[in-house]
Subunit: 321 residues, 2 copies
């Protein structure tokens, strides 16, 4: 058996590489670094572990005992043939992206409530526009669907803005974060939608979450509501959302994730009214905190792997996260 | 002496008018309502009290015992000839705008850190741009100049984003809000500027705060710093700020207030790089919470006025707030 650990993360600094190489060497392994999956693929043949992103890596790793994904969402590894070694342990970077995704969520929520896209359009034309009707998070009712690392980080920040209610929605009816004023079980979500001003979708992409926010649920929201999706694109029925925006049945929405990415150049969504589009950048690795946390999570697991301890953030492939 | 109280606030609802009229009548006064200052001016001649915005009202109110300003900033009333009755009590709506101004401040701070103006420009061209280097409030050092209602509301929200340091700057070195990790006296601000990532200006407009953020202080900030001004325009040396942005001596800035408003159509600031301009809409009356709070502050003072109790939020005209 080889002692090779493949690392594919182009964002790593020299310090990161040194730290990872040192930890590996101390444990009797060799860390080999690549900038792209393409370059790394030949080395995956006999790698025993790897840290990177993409099912092409796990599909090539016939001897992989462990793969640590740079992403928090792992739906990409769950398709047929995505993992060459059936016994491979898959761990995720859940916990690394909550902070940056939460900062994004608060930003776009405030942009929608404060009519910032319209103000910025006026300013781009050097127009001194005033008087558009703004709203505040203060005294609004916020519902966050998904109460894991992401939902919890989002809730903590919303709480400081003093909403009237801060509901969390999940399967168990229980949540670690104390920021929520109430946790509502998923099957009862329809009861709180009519009172929701701000609906935040923070769900992982699994078969269970597919089109969670469908046409029927969108219709339950008040016309003045806003929707923000930072989880997975297919948790929202995109066509139904666009129709609701066009019909004035929803005040505004912000999508960072889409059913198909990149969003095709001819997709009608680009021209949808009151829709704030961002190109899946709510949770990328560029923010220093996010990168540090990502590397830290991998290094923690690397030490556990070397010492034969149970890994953290193991993905339950049946549940999908 | 007349018993007339003039009200000029076009945002009032029928309920608001009814409440104000009822309180006045109960106290032996008559509330008269106008939509514009122009319409109200003749009635100001013999009004005993008024609620509105603008020195044209106070300049016309020769018999005014009390004027409650709809605004939090009151620098407009402090010029020569702005107040006809020297004995008039001036009260402000300080406390009504902190919430909406703070929501604006967090929004623009996040927009600058997350490169949102650039992303939105790409999206406007239907481009799927990715990879711009973002930053987080988390682990940043935030300095808020001004620790009153506004600075306190801003600090409370920043705290939830877990900055490394959250400094408040004021004259006394003491502050009511506990969100700050440290309060720094104004004369020592230069010591913390070199470590400041995010500088928020939340100062009222007085002679003392004029060009508080001048060329020398801008030079003390790291090149990577961002500046947000939501207080008064002349607390920042606008030309020096623009020059710093052009020279790459400052990463980005967001201004909602300007030395001259509306910003003239030919002002070079419109074309300044990395500058997010908003047309003085960070603290307007359109948000329902802000309007309610504004009316509440006036009604509280109205009851005090009627009952001969000391008014709240009296402006010290020497200090200027």
């Amino acid at each position: 058996m080889s002692n090779k650990i493949v690392i594919v993360n182009p964002a790593l600094t020299a310090d990161h590489r040194e730290r990872i190489a040192y930890l590996a060497r101390k444990g009797g392994y060799e860390a080999v670094f690549y900038e792209t999956n393409q370059e790394a693929l030949p080395a995956m043949e006999d790698a025993v572990a790897a840290y990177g992103l993409g099912a092409d890596l796990t599909a090539a790793g016939k001897q992989l005992a462990w793969f640590h994904s740079m992403s928090a969402g792992v739906d990409g590894y769950l398709q047929e043939g995505a993992i060459a070694n059936p016994g491979m342990l898959l761990t995720s970077s859940s916990g690394a992206y909550g902070v940056t995704l939460a900062e994004h969520t608060l930003m776009v929520t405030l942009e929608l409530l404060r009519r910032q896209p319209e103000y910025e359009q006026a300013v781009a034309q050097k127009k001194w526009l005033r008087g558009l009707k703004q709203r505040t998070i203060k005294d609004s009712t916020v519902t966050i669907v998904g109460t894991g690392d992401l939902g919890g980080e989002i809730a903590k920040r919303f709480a400081a803005f003093e909403p009237e209610h801060l509901f969390g929605v999940n399967r168990s009816g229980l949540a670690r974060s104390r920021a929520f004023t109430r946790i509502v079980k998923q099957e009862k979500v329809d009861r709180i939608l009519p009172d929701t001003d701000i609906l935040v979708m923070a769900l992982p992409g699994t078969s269970e979450t597919y089109h969670f926010l469908n046409r029927e649920r969108l219709a339950l929201l008040p016309d003045s509501a806003i929707v923000v999706n930072v989880g997975r694109g297919n948790a929202v029925d995109q066509d139904a959302l666009a129709q609701a925006l066009k019909d004035g049945k929803l005040s505004a929405a912000a999508l960072d994730v889409f059913e198909k990415e990149p969003l095709p150049a001819d997709d009608p969504l680009w021209d949808c009214p009151n829709l704030l589009i961002t190109p899946h950048i709510a949770g990328d690795l560029t923010a220093p905190y996010t990168l540090e946390k990502n590397v830290e999570l991998f290094c923690d697991n690397l030490c556990r792997f070397i010492n034969g301890q149970p890994l953290e953030r193991i993905v339950d492939r049946r549940r999908g996260y």
